[in-house]
């Protein structure tokens, strides 16, 4: 339990630093921004309690918000994603899996894992961008930002999967 907590905290710190120092500064074509901390939420074991998942999501969000001067926006999005993760994961769970599996290519196969990740990340951006563009009605900008950011984040999710110790 303790070693698990230490590993998670370490991953949390590393991912947050990478997010605010590198990934939040990169805006591909002015539209796409990758939120790589979503990988942490995607890869939490199936039986992680909802409370723990939601708190991790909120912490990632609020720290990114502080660094990006977007109070509340990332935290609202990450909390929503953390909350809905369990229900999405349930749709991909089948009997052959060990009880407390870690979502990934090994457990869900490429197809399952990618669809699961896309749905989770889509929820994240579906909350994030409307909140950010609150006052302004640029529907096309919203669509381009959302879809390109989902694609960019998915690229990193897939790359991370190749380096993951427990696929």
């Amino acid at each position: 339990m303790t070693s698990k907590t230490i590993t998670r905290t370490r991953n949390f710190v590393l991912l947050t630093l990478a997010q605010v120092i590198i990934f939040s500064q990169i805006h591909l074509f002015g539209y796409a921004t990758a939120c790589i901390f979503t990988i942490f939420l995607l890869k939490l074991p199936r039986h992680t309690t909802q409370n723990e998942t939601i708190i991790w999501g909120f912490l990632f969000g609020i720290i990114t918000d502080i660094f990006c001067n977007t109070p509340g926006i990332h935290s609202a999005a990450a909390t929503s994603m953390a909350f809905s993760r369990k229900y999405i994961l349930a749709a991909f769970t089948h009997k052959g899996l060990p009880d407390d599996f870690i979502p990934g290519v090994k457990s869900l196969k490429w197809g399952g894992y990618i669809v699961y990740a896309i749905i989770c990340i889509a929820i994240f951006y579906a909350v994030l961008f409307p909140l950010e563009l609150f006052a302004i009605r640029h529907f096309t900008t919203l669509l381009i930002s959302t879809s390109s950011s989902i694609a960019l984040t998915m690229l990193f999710v897939i790359v991370a999967e190749f380096f993951s110790p427990n696929k």
Binding site: V20, I21, H27, G30, Y31, T33, T49, Q50, N51, I54, I55, F58, G61, I62, D65, I66, F67, C68, N69, T70, P71, G72, I73, S75, A76, T79, S80, F83, L131, E132, L133, F134, A135, I136, H138, T141
Partner: protein, 279 residues
């Protein structure tokens, strides 16, 4: 009753979820009123220090171009000094020197400070810039920020060593300005392209032209008059057809700002108090 309690306990994560979402939405909605809550912005000391450290490393890579800019700026200053010296000599023996002193007193309320940009964004609808000076260096909210290219924005909230600036590239930013030798106007960004901003509500009777330079008006008590903002690039009718709207090509390249000047006005409070009486 007991079964209701059981359901509530079993689904306690719903409450946590709603609570945290609630906190997030409060932050989103009330950020405008949170000017003092610097803990939620990159002006807080931890975020500020991390950004300073990154900028320290990063600034070495831009030394060459930064040097070229400084040399250019120096050259311009030396030229300006020469021009001013020549003008002073012209006036020296004449009585108009008294007039000059009289008119120059108007600007004495402004004082300048330099700062370094430690964090900057340009891709959002509401962008912010963090600079490495705060209240302990005399930088507070509602002060003007510009560089050698032109106006950058207005300071928004300050901690003791860092300040968040609301640049022109923020949909909440409204700058009072004037078209050189013509009427007053207001500059507002539409959240789209980072090179352009818009002059809104231009009166129809005034003849604006493409290429006209837009400068600060000096009426807002934040900026002294005459700091350049941009050049009119395209004139069009406003959405309601009542006035003109002009696209302005901004002089400042917001993707590449490093050193900035912060201008304060020691008479600002006095001016605002006076104006407050009439509002």
């Amino acid at each position: 009753m007991r079964s209701i309690l059981d359901i509530l306990i079993k689904h306690n994560h719903w409450f946590l979820f709603l609570l945290l979402e609630g906190i997030s939405f409060v932050l989103v909605v009330f950020f405008n009123n949170y000017q003092r809550a610097t803990i939620f912005t990159s002006a807080n000391s931890i975020a500020g220090n991390i950004y300073s450290a990154i900028t320290n490393v990063d600034s070495y890579f831009g030394l060459k171009s930064e040097n070229e800019i400084l040399v250019d700026h120096n050259k311009k200053l030396i030229n300006d000094i020469e021009i001013l010296k020549a003008r002073l000599r012209e006036y020296e023996d004449s009585a108009s020197i008294a007039n000059m002193q009289f008119t120059s007193q108007h600007n004495e309320g402004f004082y300048y400070n330099t700062a370094k940009v430690v964090n900057n964004s340009i891709n959002k609808v509401n962008n912010y810039i963090t600079i490495d000076k705060g209240t302990s260096q005399g930088v507070n909210s509602q002060m003007g920020v510009f560089n050698d290219q032109g106006v950058i924005g207005v300071t928004y909230t300050s901690s003791s060593n860092y300040t968040v600036v609301m640049p022109l590239l923020n949909s909440k930013s409204i700058i009072s300005c004037k078209v050189k030798d013509k009427g007053l106007c207001t500059l507002k960004w539409d959240g789209m392209e980072t090179r352009y901003s818009y002059l809104i509500d231009l009166p129809r009777y005034e003849l604006f032209e493409n290429g006209d330079t837009v400068v600060t008006s000096g009426f807002s008590s934040i900026f002294p008059a005459g700091i350049p903002l941009g050049r009119i690039d395209r004139l069009e009718d406003s959405a309601d057809g009542q006035s003109y709207r002009a696209r302005v090509e901004l002089f400042v390249d917001f993707s590449d700002i490093d050193n900035v000047f912060v201008v304060g006005n020691s008479n600002r409070e006095e001016q605002e108090e006076l104006e407050e009486i009439f509002n």
